[in-house]
């Protein structure tokens, strides 16, 4: 039985939210470990399951970049100077910006924590991607967003095909013995690749049209405008509300709720007019709900935890301690191991 793909995405978003509330390397490491273990045990044998490694590598790259940028441009300074880079003299108007100069242990550790935070969030997205097909998730979108989800699905297939077509053209170029480089090579590559992409999209559009895509059951213009306005206003409210919440202002809540209500109303109105059905839709089984809840648990615990160990001090440098309650919260996300293993 296939789990609702939304379950894994909620689970992963929960872990990511938990990670975003802390810079404690021990806790972040724990999130990484939990996500990794669950991916390795619970993923099915699918083409997209192998993408987890790519996300991890990308995470390492981000950590490296964050540290490098900090070393060059500075930011947090401390008394323990490790080494000094030659400083680029800047004119007066660029005061406050520095390139090069002393690199302190405190600054590096701070950058490391920040990089680790980003990498952990990324690995959570990677985990969701490996556990549940993102395209299936799009299929579970509300019916009113159907056109959008199809557009996204099609776009997702176009990218790999562009790559494949570019590869075959490049190979063909070699057959012709054409060793063009630079701008000319790009031009000679671009024409056939784009031609191919255009041809393919026309074929796809014709195929979708012949198979009933966009059959309308006579939706009136008034209804379309109403749906559109409701959904847009709702999404706008959601965005502002989320921003308010993250910024710590309590005005965020009412906007978030209002936006949610508007968006749901819009989707409801829209869905009534779409004459489509869905084949074997994913269902929210108890297992799926369990998976989602186990991920969200950690997020809730960290959001409401005031443990000072969540953001260990870097000036002065201190060994970070492991906050017990948040750590337990993150460990709850291991629960899927018990009941959601793929056969």
């Amino acid at each position: 039985m296939r789990l609702h793909s939304g379950a894994w995405w909620l689970w992963a978003l929960g872990l990511a939210t938990a990670a975003s509330r802390t810079t404690n390397p021990l806790l972040l490491g724990l999130v990484l470990a939990v996500a990794g273990v669950v991916v390795v045990t619970c993923r099915a044998n699918t083409p997209w399951a192998g993408t987890y490694g790519v996300f991890l590598k990308f995470g390492l790259l981000i950590i490296g970049l964050r540290v490098l940028v900090h070393a060059f441009l500075g930011g947090v300074t401390g008394p323990t100077v490790l080494f000094t880079l030659p400083q680029v003299p800047l004119p007066d108007w660029a005061q406050g910006i520095r390139v090069g100069g002393p690199v302190s242990a405190e600054g590096l550790v701070f950058a490391l924590y920040q990089g680790l935070l980003l990498a952990t969030i990324l690995s959570c997205v990677g985990a969701a991607n490996a556990l549940a097909n993102p395209r299936r998730l799009l299929r579970s979108l509300p019916a009113a967003l159907y056109e959008v989800s199809v557009a996204v699905v099609v776009a997702l297939t176009v990218a790999p095909r562009l790559v494949a077509s570019a590869r075959s053209v490049r190979k063909a170029r070699q057959l012709r013995g054409d060793a063009a480089r630079g701008a000319r090579a790009i031009r000679t590559m671009l024409v056939p690749v784009l031609e191919d992409a255009l041809d393919r999209s026309l074929v796809l559009a014709a195929s979708m049209d012949s198979r009933g895509y966009g059959r309308t059951a006579g939706i009136s213009r008034k209804d379309r405008v109403l749906t559109g306005t409701l959904v847009l206003a709702g999404l706008f409210g959601l965005c502002i509300g989320t921003y308010g919440l993250l910024a710590g202002a309590y005005t965020g809540w009412p906007l978030l709720v209002l936006g949610g209500v508007l968006a749901i109303a819009g989707l409801r109105v829209g869905a009534r007019r779409v004459p489509r059905t869905r084949y074997r839709p994913d269902r929210w089984t108890p297992t799926a709900i369990g998976v989602a809840l186990s991920g969200v648990a950690g997020a809730v615990m960290l959001v409401f935890s005031a443990d000072p160990a969540l953001s260990p001090s870097t000036v002065p440098l201190q060994a970070p301690g492991l906050p017990l309650v948040p750590a337990l919260g993150v460990l709850v996300a291991l629960a899927p191991l018990a009941f959601a293993r793929e056969a």
Binding site: Q174, L175, S210, Y279
Partner: protein
Amino acid sequence: MIRFEDVTITYAERPVLAEVSVEIPEGELCLVVGRTGSGKSTFLRAVNGLVPHFSGGTLAGRVLVDGRDTATHPPRELADVVGFVGQDPMAGFVADNVEDELAYSMESLGLTNDVMRKRVEETLDLLGLATLRDRPLATLSGGQQQRVAIGAALTAHPKVLVLDEPTSALDPGAAEDVLAAVQRLVHDLGMTVVIAEHRLERVAQYADRALLLPQGRIGDVGEILKAAPVAPPVVRLAQLAGWEPIPVSVRDARRRAAPLRARLPEPRPEPATKTGPVLEADDVVVRYGDVQAVRGVRLDIKEGERIALMGRNGSGKSSLLWAVQGSGKRTSGTVTVNDIDPKTLKPAERRQTVALVPQQPSDLLYLETVEQECVQADTETGRPAGTCRDLLDSLARVPPEAHPRDLSEGQRLALVLAVMLTGTPQVLLLDEPTRGLDYPAKAALAAVLKNLPTTTVLATHDVEFVAEYATRVIVMAEGEIVADGPAREVVTSSPIFAPQVSKILGPWLTVADVEAAL
């Protein structure tokens, strides 16, 4: 079921179909025949309204399908009556696994989940796809993809199924599978099927009637093919022997063939030419990840040979060609041409030793006119100006100011051949060159290749073309060579690779040979 009333279709002032009036009754399998560019695709696309709703152009007259006028019903509103399967099934797929793809049209039609579930299961069984239900579409073979595409059109329970070249890209075995599935639809479900196909030898026997374009004449398959510029060898043989009525299946022809067989002498054995080797390959292995595409192949090609490389889709033909040419991957093994490994050469020198025309010949072209392509070919290879142009003129009539995209398949192939031959390679490799070519174009290609001084190796599924072209046939399976020998010997000993004439007359391969012997 389908009625064309005085239909004229024009694109940019140029009529593609002129005053076609046809009626195709329910439950009939109708074969649409005609040369490339005679409007076959346009006719098929007019059946479900893609012409003119999707493609533009103007349609005069009326097209009625199950009583619905396509002028007022765009393709999406005809989706429950007409199932349409285009030439390239992979490009038309919307979902990413088999089951979701099958369900797509039903979702658009808004059927309930119970109905969808039942029809998906039925279709999986009907087309023999049950074991593939969870597979990602990209991992399927060509024949499987084609069957999924047909299945996806079927789940909407249309009354009409339109197939544009359903077997052109398939090997003979996969084509049989697809056509058997189509025949079952006609017999068991009473579906009306309209097929256009270049490889008439594969489908003619299944058809009830044939429609000849651009004339718009419809009638008995044999009668229509007799008059058509394109016809399978069995029809041409029947015309030569004067059989009436014209048989379209090998079986019917064989029952009439006894007197002709008695009149024919034993075919003369091909004169064995003693020539030196030009290309030698030993123990060639090509591996992609865990998949071994070519497993230790030994190949020695002698000067002046015309070799056909045959085998299923995925048997390693393309990989072998690319590895031998040197531009593709070669995991281990040796290839030598004149004591040089082509892989060690620069691409520009390599193509002057071993040239390869890939499956998509248009990938090699990127300039705006034929003339520019020719000039570019001359400069690339350092030949005197005009070399490529002269070569092209000797191969085909191609207008120099045309855009390569606007050429017909045959003309484009001629242009690519001229471009590659400008470098005077010692060996010319071609990967599936006959795709999209009709019989006259294929005969022209065979004649061109026979007259070339260059040694040629050609990978193909087209058994009739092999009979006309090859002196030697190599059959590959699972990355290994399983048969290698003179064309006549290899081809006549295998039921799958035997051309129609050989199935009827034993050791003879082509109608031209028979004619010469009589």
